[in-house]
Structures are given as structure tokens and as C-alpha cells.
Symmetry: C2
Subunit: 168 residues, 2 copies
């Protein structure tokens, strides 16, 4: 039997079978859920999920406004991506840009009353979809298990940024 010494060390840290099953199911569930929720929200409200996310974040923020950078972090978008998204939503009247008096570099994104109205239309539809396609399929124990397990995954990702460093 040949001895793949370097490869064997790599193999020792490769995923086992239940892990890969969970991983594939996780990917598939995400892809199908997002596809379905996006389609339903678009069909019934004419609203993309990315717009909905912005409206939710703003509505939950103090004074219904956030700085561009904070909003970009909240909706998991790059700065340039958010600039263009806010351009579009602003053109539709759902948000507006306001200068930050305390920092002349900064810009607040402010939810407008039209934006709030749009969110009130969309929220029941989106939440019904989350319940129907996600929540309704899960027992109470399932929901708690998913939350606690994936919370550990998220926590693990917060720490080590990358593999870029050679031991000094």
C-alpha cells in the first residue's frame, strides 16, 4: 500500500460523511428558499429581496436612518453595491440621502413614508413565505437546533480572518 504522507495529513481534517450531508442539504435549502421567496415577493409586491432587506434594516434603526457603511454591513453588500442600490431606491422614492451634520463625509440613508408604506405591504407576504416554506417544516426542536448549531458556525467565522499568515 502506497503512503501518501502529505495527503493523509490533509485527509485527517477532511469532512466526514454526516458533515458533507449537512453541508449539501444546507446549500440546497438556501438556494431553493431564496429563489422561492424572491420570486414570491417580486410577483406579489414587485419588490426584490435586496430592497426589502434595506427597508427592514432602516425601519429597525433609530430615527429610521443609517449611515451607508453601517447599512452596507447590515445587508451584506459592498460599499459600491450599496451606493447603486440606494440610487435605485432613491429614484423610486423609498429612501433619501441626508448629509450627516456631525461628519461631512458621511451620508445617512433615511426611510421615507413611501418606503415605510411599501415595507408594510411587503412584510406580511415575506413573513408568510418564511413561515410557510421554512418555519412550518420545522418542529420547535428543529428551529432551536438550527439556531444553536449555526450560531456556532457564525461565531467560528468571526475570529480567524484567513490562511494568509505564515507563522512569524
Amino acid at each position: 500500500m502506497r503512503n501518501y504522507s502529505v495527503y493523509d495529513r490533509a485527509m485527517a481534517s477532511l469532512p466526514n460523511e454526516p458533515t458533507m450531508t449537512a453541508w449539501h442539504t444546507f446549500l440546497q435549502a438556501h438556494a431553493r428558499l431564496i429563489e422561492r421567496l424572491e420570486a414570491e415577493l417580486q410577483l406579489e409586491c414587485g419588490l426584490p429581496l435586496s430592497w426589502y432587506d434595506v427597508l427592514v434594516q432602516l425601519s429597525e434603526a433609530p430615527a429610521s436612518r443609517l449611515r451607508m457603511t453601517d447599512l452596507a454591513g447590515a445587508v451584506l453588500l459592498s460599499k459600491s453595491g450599496l451606493t447603486r442600490l440606494i440610487d435605485r431606491m432613491n429614484a423610486d422614492g423609498l429612501v433619501q440621502r441626508c448629509p450627516d451634520p456631525g461628519d461631512k463625509r458621511g451620508t445617512f440613508v433615511q426611510l421615507t413614508s413611501a418606503g415605510l408604506a411599501r415595507l408594510r405591504d411587503a412584510a406580511p407576504i415575506h413573513l408568510r413565505g418564511v413561515q410557510e416554506h421554512f418555519g412550518a417544516q420545522l418542529s420547535a426542536a428543529d428551529a432551536l437546533a438550527i439556531a444553536s448549531a449555526l450560531q456556532k458556525v457564525v461565531a467560528g467565522l468571526s475570529g480567524p480572518p484567513a490562511h494568509d499568515f505564515i507563522d512569524p
Copy 2:
């Protein structure tokens, strides 16, 4: 107290709090995991995840080849998206198009030896990332719970296509 009769019926099917916690954690975990795995694979192999997915699907297919439509389904991409992706991978020599002798409309995408070599480089890196960032954070029970719970979600999405139908 006012009676929002229609809204109350809607409220009755809205997600409860554990469901929303699981949902938010699920979204956050997915976004961060994909971001990290994409960055690591790109940095260490110069390979996008979408290319990796294609190589994996082809390598697992009989004769290392698949029809365009089948491959598009497997990697969750539209037909036009796959056409352009295969253009790029073909230009890099990782796959090639072959006519299907049995159906002159059809095109097989065939894994090349260069593509297989590239996959052999990339697989340990990607799988190490899955183990490190996902598998290693989970107990055996966690992995089984995620797989079984999300499998139910996937199954629920396979059936009802949309809300387009009014009761006939």
C-alpha cells in the same frame, strides 16, 4: 379594540420567534460561509466556486460529461448563465464542448485532463475549508439535526410551485 379580521388571519401564520432566530442565523451563516470559502479558494487556487462546482459535477458524472441543461440544473444556474460560464472554462481549457451524436441539438460538456488536474488541486482546499468553518463547529448531533431539518424544508419546496392559483 379594533378588529383586523383579515390581518389577524394572516398573523396567525406568521413565524414565531424561534423560527425567526433560526432564519436569521441561517442567512448569516450562509453568507459568511460562502464568502469565506470563495475567498480561500480564489486565493489559494485562483478558482471561483462556480468553476469548482462545475468541475465536481462533471467529475461525478458518467464519462465525466453532462448535457448543458443537466449541468445547469446541477449547479443551479440559468441556461444562459451556464453558456457563458462554460465559454470561460473552455477558454481556460478545463472543459470542452462535444456534440451529442444522438441529439443534434444537444451539447455535452466534457471534463478535460487539465480540468481534472485543477479539481484535484482545489478539492483538498475546499474540503478543508468546509471542515474547518462548518464541520468542526458542529457536534455529530448538530450535523444530523441540520441535515434532517433542512431536508424537510427542501422536500416542502419541491411540491407547491407558487401562489398563482385561485381555487377553481
